[in-house]
């Protein structure tokens, strides 16, 4: 069974003056351990597709199966719970809770999962060390640079041991050094612990590092290629 299976997925936004067919008959399979980018020009549907996979938006038709479970049929509260347990998110910006420290931001998601205190403490140290922020445990987001904030977001995304991480333009607001640093960490996590990462991006720095590139154009899969 594939980690993610998308079957005949369509999304039409019909609340606009002219209905927008954002995704057209998408069929995809993503396996565990992949390091994949969904790319394409603005308006091609890459963020919409990422939102469908993350259960943040509902398809007009078709199915999104995560570990064989059709999430498009889930109710709102079930979906939130499902996301908490199975999906990690890294967004472009405003990722962290501004009033919590780096440590507390990572801990928060584990608290929601009911993970024990000792286990939380262990994971916080391990993850923040892994993203190179072992010395910034008590720093608030405004005390961290953009790159450091995104690294905390990555630590938070994987703290709950999700099945995969969705990253929507994670490097968009970072300079190239910070972006490369962030990608190094994600790549390492992918290689070391087999964490699946799916990016929606048009940043070449990301595209160069991924093993699979799914290109969308006008809501359709234009190409789906693997690279070394």
């Amino acid at each position: 069974m594939s980690l993610i299976e998308i079957i005949n997925l369509n999304k039409i936004y019909d609340k606009t003056k002219v209905p927008v067919h954002a995704l057209k008959d998408i069929n995809l399979k993503i396996e565990r351990g992949e390091f994949t980018a969904i790319v394409g020009p603005s308006g091609s549907g890459k963020t919409t597709l990422l939102n469908m996979i993350g259960g943040l938006d509902t398809p007009t038709s078709g199915k999104v199966l995560i570990k064989g479970v059709d999430i498009s049929k889930m109710k709102e509260d079930e979906l939130i719970d499902f996301r908490l347990k199975n999906i990690g998110f890294v967004f472009q910006s405003f990722n962290l809770i501004p009033v919590l420290t780096a440590k507390e931001n990572v801990e928060f998601i584990m608290l929601l999962q009911g993970i024990s205190k000792d286990e939380r403490e262990r994971r916080i140290i391990e993850l923040l060390n892994a993203v190179g922020l072992g010395d910034k445990l008590d720093a608030r987001p405004y005390e961290l640079s953009g790159g450091q904030q995104q690294r905390v977001a990555v630590a938070r995304a994987i703290a709950s041991h999700p099945s995969f991480v969705l990253a929507d333009e994670p490097t968009a607001n970072l300079d190239s050094v910070a972006a490369e640093g962030l990608l190094d960490i994600m790549k390492e996590l992918n290689e070391k612990i087999g964490m699946t990462f799916i990016f929606a991006t048009h940043d070449n720095k990301v595209i160069r590092r991924v093993r699979r590139i799914i290109t969308l154009e006008d809501g359709k899969v234009k190409s789906d290629v693997f690279q070394n």
Binding site: L56, D57, I80, F91, V99, L100
Partner: protein, 406 residues
């Protein structure tokens, strides 16, 4: 729960100025509401106490039908044991016997009608502080056979202390009541109606004059805690049984009750306007706080935080802000109320003159009734919480995708 509390507490300090502003509006609302209400209730309590001490007492005991007919035939036996029993009831300060009648009073060629009140001088003084109204002569003694006359009446009759006047009229069963007696003292009342008509005589002198040995018309009861009126009323009724009427001041002075009710409604309208201003103030603040965090809420829901948890956090924020405002409001209000209760606000000018005319000292002691503090704080807190319901509804309807686009 600890983390939610920490989160909510830190969130409210993200914008210190706004939190202080919101808490301040609650603070001022509570202080204003408590002060206004305490002043209003304090003035009512003082007005009632002044009026009952001067006229009726908090409650009065008389024979059945006396209040309607005011007839001497409806007098009651003077029973010192009964008075003692009433005075033993908790919260009763004093029970004062009176024998009241209307007579003609004459000096040389001038005759006027006077309201004659036969009193136990000591007890009457405890109730009405009558001796303090003395402007010449001396206060009555128990066995005097003379009168205390009100200043206005003395002027009309052109009499002074030491002069004699004739009291003439009817005692019980139409028996003639007539005597020539000296003016022992002159008293001044602020209220012109009283100042031109009252005459006081000792109880035993009155009983002899009206041929009413051992009879009185009323027993006025003063209590030291107006809140205990119902309790004292029921205890007195238990003691006197069905033989006598027991009336509260509210039954005897309905015009005073109506006046207070009317004024209270005016005060409540002012308070309602104050509540409305606070509600809009808090609502506006909460709306801004929510609007600027919509994107953040969207992200939190996306990463797996349930809306109920977000609602919990924002509710905790509202509770914190409300409590900061409420507690500081109470902290300021309590000493303020205690101070102005013990040191009443004294007013002057026309208002003071009007007050004096009614025989009431021109002061407003603030009520120290803790009920006012509890009621006003609760109302303001409820308004604050209701105003905070907006974000709950906003979060409930929030779609993470749309929120993150904002």
């Amino acid at each position: 729960m600890k983390l939610y509390l920490i989160l909510a507490w830190r969130n409210i300090w993200r914008n210190k100025r706004r939190t202080i502003l919101a808490a301040s509006s609650i603070f001022f609302a509570i202080v204003l509401a408590i002060f206004t209400r305490a002043m209003q209730h304090g003035s009512y309590d003082y007005m009632i106490d002044s009026a009952v001490r001067m006229f009726t007492g908090y409650l009065q005991i008389h024979s059945k039908g006396y209040w309607e007919e005011k007839s001497l035939e409806k007098a009651l036996d003077y029973d010192s044991n009964l008075i003692k029993k009433i005075e033993e009831i908790q919260s009763v300060e004093i029970a004062v016997p009176r024998l009241e009648n209307f007579l003609l009073i004459s000096s040389e060629h001038i005759t006027k009608v006077t309201s004659v009140i036969a009193i136990d001088p000591e007890k009457e003084n405890q109730m009405t502080k009558l001796s303090q109204k003395l402007i010449s002569g001396r206060y009555l003694k128990k066995d005097d056979n003379g009168i205390l006359i009100s200043e206005g009446l003395a002027k009309i009759l052109n009499v002074q202390v030491g002069d004699s006047v004739v009291l003439y009229g009817q005692g019980i069963y139409g028996i003639t009541a007539a005597t020539l007696c000296p003016v022992i003292g002159i008293v001044r009342f602020a209220l012109p109606d009283l100042n031109n008509s009252l005459t006081y005589i000792p109880l035993s002198f009155g009983q002899t004059l009206f041929s009413m040995e051992n009879k009185i018309t009323t027993i006025s009861v003063i209590i030291n805690n107006p809140k205990k009126l119902d309790y004292v009323l029921s205890e007195v009724k238990k003691i006197v049984g069905d033989d006598y009427d027991v009336m509260s001041w509210e039954e005897m002075m309905p015009e005073l009750v109506q006046g207070i009710q009317l004024d209270s409604v005016g005060g409540l309208i002012m308070l309602f306007i104050l509540y409305l201003v606070i509600a809009f103030g808090i609502f506006g603040t909460v709306m801004m706080m929510t609007a600027e965090r919509t994107k953040e809420f969207g992200i939190l829901i996306s990463i797996g935080i349930k809306k109920t948890k977000l609602i919990l956090i924002t509710t905790l924020e509202a509770i914190f802000i409300s409590l900061i405002g409420a507690l500081s409001g109470i902290l300021i209000s309590v000493p303020m109320i205690i101070y102005f209760h013990n040191n009443p606000i004294r007013f002057s000018g026309e208002l003071a003159e009007i007050s004096l005319k009614f025989g009431v000292e021109p002061i407003i002691p603030l009520s120290n009734d803790p009920g006012i503090l509890v009621a006003q704080t609760s109302i303001v807190l409820i308004i604050a919480f209701l105003s905070s319901l907006y974000p709950l509804n906003h979060i409930r309807k929030l779609k993470p995708i749309e929120a993150m686009r904002m």
